[in-house]
């Protein structure tokens, strides 16, 4: 096989392993949490958007990126408004405007209504909001690029059941939206329905009831199809393995959280993380023996997956290192007096590397168009 053939084979249209996308996205999250530099954060959002635009599939999930980003923007706006009107955590001297204020009793110290609005506090809120936006964009990108259901297929045996429960919950949400649209339209057939809270209740009741009924159907269907079947395993062993996995996972999530949030020093956090992961792996290996589940056409893990994860890692490590070396440029939030944010070139380059999957991964296969069937689904919501 010539090199050309090889390359062709590796990059022929297919879906990238979902875990690769999630690792890549987590790396972006890690990068975003290390900095409050507005340029770096904006670039992270941009990189996420670029990769999503280049490699998203036609599944329902692929629309979630926009939803996540919009949510981030709303949060940013809310944060700015709240900072201006109610909370002033950052002292500052650059007064922009002084609003009429209302005195609050001492018990509510720290909260104010109105009063002086400083540029420092607004900038602080802006940077923090941007950071959150970048995190959401990265998570949204992972959602859009890798169907959570496919990610689930790769989850180790012991966690699979929990995973299925989560995915069912995730599926429930978009279905609810679809149902809500349908019910809202149907309710118009009754005449002019009330608006406001009563109107909401009126949509919510049939939607939730319908959703509940269909979840129960789903559970019944899954049960009849052998979901969560086990071989003969002693109860005690099952409990031990389950406990280990749970403990390990909780530890790992806690450690990760602490590390990303900077609450724990890497020196303490990393060993905790390692131990937790070991616990979880041991538990799932023990449990894996009881599950007889096999996999149908598992997703391959090949060069493009490695490249994707590596590009994310470059961004995460790069930004972390540069943030440690040059805190003023990388973390301008909360600095007093205000400084003009500068362009940290090295960090920007590191983040740009994370855009590599937009070209270095195989394109997703094109699903065949489904004209007739689309028509069937459209009128259901009377779109």
């Amino acid at each position: 096989m010539s090199i050309g053939d090889r390359v062709q084979q590796v990059w022929e249209p297919r879906l990238l392993h979902p875990a690769a996308w999630w690792l890549w996205a987590l790396a972006l999250v890690a990068a975003a949490t290390r900095t409050t530099n507005p340029f770096v954060l904006t670039l992270i959002v941009g990189v996420a958007a670029l990769v999503v635009a280049a490699r998203r599939t036609e599944s329902v999930w692929s629309r979630s990126f926009v939803a996540f980003v919009s949510f981030g923007l709303v949060l940013l706006a809310v944060r700015l408004v709240f900072t201006a009107l109610f909370v002033g955590t950052v002292p500052g001297s650059t007064v922009i405007v002084t609003l009429p204020s209302i005195g609050l009793p001492d018990a509510l110290a720290g909260i104010r209504i109105g009063g002086t609005v400083t540029a420092e506090s607004l900038v602080f809120a802006l940077y923090q909001g941007l950071q959150l936006l970048a995190v959401l964009a990265a998570v949204g990108a992972a959602n859009a690029l890798a169907d959570p259901r496919r990610l689930l297929k790769t989850v180790p045996g012991a966690l699979y059941e929990v995973g299925v429960a989560l995915v069912v919950a995730l599926t429930y949400a978009p279905r609810l939206v679809e149902d809500a649209v349908r019910v809202r339209k149907a309710q118009r057939l009754r005449g002019r329905p009330p608006r406001g809270l009563r109107g909401v209740a009126r949509t919510a009741v049939p939607v939730l009831e319908g959703g509940l009924a269909s979840s129960i159907d789903l559970a019944a269907a899954m049960d009849s199809r052998g979901f969560a079947r086990h071989g003969e395993v002693p109860v005690r062993r099952r409990r031990v393995s389950g406990g280990l996995v749970l403990l390990g996972l909780t530890g790992a999530i806690g450690a990760l959280f602490a590390l990303l949030g900077g609450a724990l020093l890497p020196l303490a956090g990393i060993p905790l993380l390692v131990v937790s992961v070991l616990l979880a792996v041991t538990g799932s290996l023990m449990a894996g023996r009881r599950s007889q589940r096999t996999r149908y056409r598992p997703d391959p893990w090949a060069t493009p997956e490695w490249l994707t994860v590596a590009s994310g890692a470059v961004a995460a490590v790069g930004v972390t290192l540069i943030a440690a070396l040059d805190p003023t440029t990388m973390n301008p939030a909360g600095l007093i007096p205000l400084v003009t944010p500068t362009l940290p070139l090295a960090a920007l380059v590191a983040v740009v590397v994370a855009a590599a999957p937009a070209v270095l991964t195989p394109v997703p296969p094109v699903a065949l168009p489904a004209p007739t069937s689309r028509v069937t689904s459209a009128p259901e919501v009377y779109a």
Partner: protein, 538 residues
């Protein structure tokens, strides 16, 4: 293969058992049809086979249910997954995976089959059910018939000994249901599978059954050969009713059987000179609604491409066509819920796209495919009161309509606890309370038993006589034969036929009702017509 031994099932909080003292043995390789009115416990019986009842639903079961020698008391549904394949009523809500292939493989993964075996069985199943072209398609883009076949396929890949299906064809067009039934037939004949199927539309399945199990209202069962059961069973398809009327023995179960007997009846009808009594159209017949060259697109998909038709008072018009042909889109456009990009729509002088909602509900009313979408209150009485408030009507209007349509509904019940047919009538009452000139019904017979259907036919006819016009989108040819005066057939977003029921239906191989097939070339459509003529002839 399946054995019910003195089985009584009682749900908590219900006064009477859902099934009582059921003794039933179903042999290997039998195709067994379960019939009964809605609420008679068909689903309970089916779900008891693999232990979903009571493991999953709660309730108490006394006696034993055993499949292939394994009892449901000792085995949970998931432990029986390798012997019982279960296809529940709504395939869509049971889908776990995203694409056809993954869905087919799900059950096998949990049984721990080797990857090579799984791969082979997926390919075999795709061929068996004609799903090959759909293998990579996301499930949500499939049509109803395709979904049903995928659901059957995903139960089959584990090679169960028993397949249980709850109303597999109720949402399908005639062609789709034929595909599904043909596939089932093949499984029974070629693989020796034992099939247990519940269905309301007996005309579609009764001829394939080896045995019929009838559930009576008090939860008992009777079972026997189809001929034997159909001679007396109160629930029967038109072919059987015609056979009973004409006194043919044994009672024919298929159009083919009936045609062999029918020569005599045809001659008698011909000699008597009786004509098929057409549902009478009210004489006024003024135009209620006009649709001219309407085009509707959802994004890249064209749902309606240049539809034109007129509806007059006194019309009960059926809109038929495959799943996805544009029936619902047409109804939605008339009700102002979809906004066609071009063309003219007029309903009682209003354009539904622009009309004020208050005026529109008096011009046109739509009962949607899921009547439950209209309902939200906690009791029937409450539902009626709020409906009046919404419509700005005198309180009690809806109650009066409901009392007229369905006098036996207990006003204190929760709408969710009503039977499918009662819920439809409740939604219909809410829509009718505004007294719309044009009434639209989208697939009203889904899940209705013959009794409820008969009731609906009476209601529709009466509406037509009192100056309304009715349009019904449906797959149910027997309903059309009995209730409708006109049929429009929609295909690929266009009206391809529009005319009298007798003209349009009788000549179509897919849409002809059973009576028409039996008595062709004479233009009879329903048993009621034949009965009337026979009576006249003496």
């Amino acid at each position: 293969m399946i054995r019910f031994d003195q089985v009584t099932i009682t749900y908590p909080g219900s006064p009477a058992p859902a099934l009582s003292d059921v003794d039933l043995t179903i042999d290997e390789g039998e195709m067994c049809l379960v019939v009964g009115a809605t609420g008679s416990g068909k689903s309970t019986l089916l779900r008891a086979v693999n232990g979903l009842v009571p493991h999953f639903t709660g309730g108490t079961l006394s006696g034993t249910v055993a499949v292939d020698g394994r009892t449901t008391t000792k085995n949970k549904p998931r432990d029986l997954a390798d012997v019982v394949g279960m296809v529940l009523q709504d395939p869509t809500s049971g889908f776990v995976a995203d694409t056809v292939e993954d869905e087919l493989a799900f059950g096998m993964e949990w049984l721990g089959l080797a990857p090579a075996v799984m791969r082979r069985r997926v390919e075999e199943t795709l061929d068996l059910l004609g799903l090959t072209e759909l293998r990579h398609r996301p499930l949500r883009t499939l049509s109803g018939g395709q979904r049903q076949r995928v659901a059957i396929g995903s139960a089959l890949t584990v090679h169960p000994r028993v397949l249980v299906l709850d109303e597999p064809t109720s949402a399908l067009d005639p062609q789709g249901s034929e595909d599904v039934l043909a596939a089932l037939q093949r499984l029974v004949h070629d693989l020796g599978l034992t099939v247990l199927v519940a269905e309301h539309r007996l005309e579609r399945v009764v001829q394939y059954a080896d045995r019929i199990v009838e559930l009576t209202d008090d939860g008992h069962v009777r079972s026997g050969s189809p001929q034997q059961m159909m001679a007396t069973c109160p629930i029967a398809p038109p072919v059987v009713e015609l056979g009973r009327l004409a006194g043919w023995t044994p009672v024919p179960l298929s159009v083919r059987d009936a045609r062999r007997h029918a020569a005599g009846l045809r001659k008698r009808l011909h000699d008597s000179g009786a004509r098929a009594a057409q549902p009478v159209r009210s004489p006024a017949g003024e135009t209620v609604s006009e649709v001219r060259d309407v085009r509707l697109r959802y994004g890249p998909v064209t749902a309606l491409r240049g539809v034109s038709l007129q509806v007059h008072t006194g019309d009960v018009m059926a809109v038929m066509g495959r799943n996805g042909a544009g029936k619902s889109s047409l109804l939605a456009s008339l009700a102002g819920m979809a906004r066609p990009q071009t063309g003219h729509i007029g309903v009682a002088g209003l354009d539904p796209r622009r009309a004020d909602p208050d005026d529109l509900v008096r011009a046109v009313g739509l009962v949607p495919q899921q009547p439950g979408d209209l309902l939200y209150a906690t009791s029937v009485a409450d539902e009626c009161t709020t409906a009046d408030q919404d419509g700005g009507r005198r309180i009690g209007t809806t109650r009066a309509v409901l009392a007229d349509l369905a006098p036996d509904i207990d006003p204190q019940r929760h709408p969710r606890d009503l039977s499918e047919g009662q819920r439809l009538l409740l939604a219909l009452s809410i829509v009718l309370a505004a007294s719309p000139t044009l009434l639209l019904l989208d697939e009203p017979t889904r899940g209705l038993d013959y009794g409820a259907k008969r009731r609906l036919v009476q209601v529709l006819r009466r509406l037509a006589h009192t100056g309304h016009a009715v349009m019904v989108a449906t797959h149910d040819v027997e309903l059309v034969a009995e209730a409708c005066t006109r049929v429009a057939i929609v295909a690929d977003g266009e009206v391809v036929a529009d005319g009298d029921v007798a003209d349009v239906l009788a000549s179509s191989p897919a849409f002809a009702p059973q009576v028409a097939k039996i008595l062709s070339p004479q233009p009879w459509l329903s048993v009621a017509q034949v009965a009337g003529a026979v009576e006249l002839a003496g």
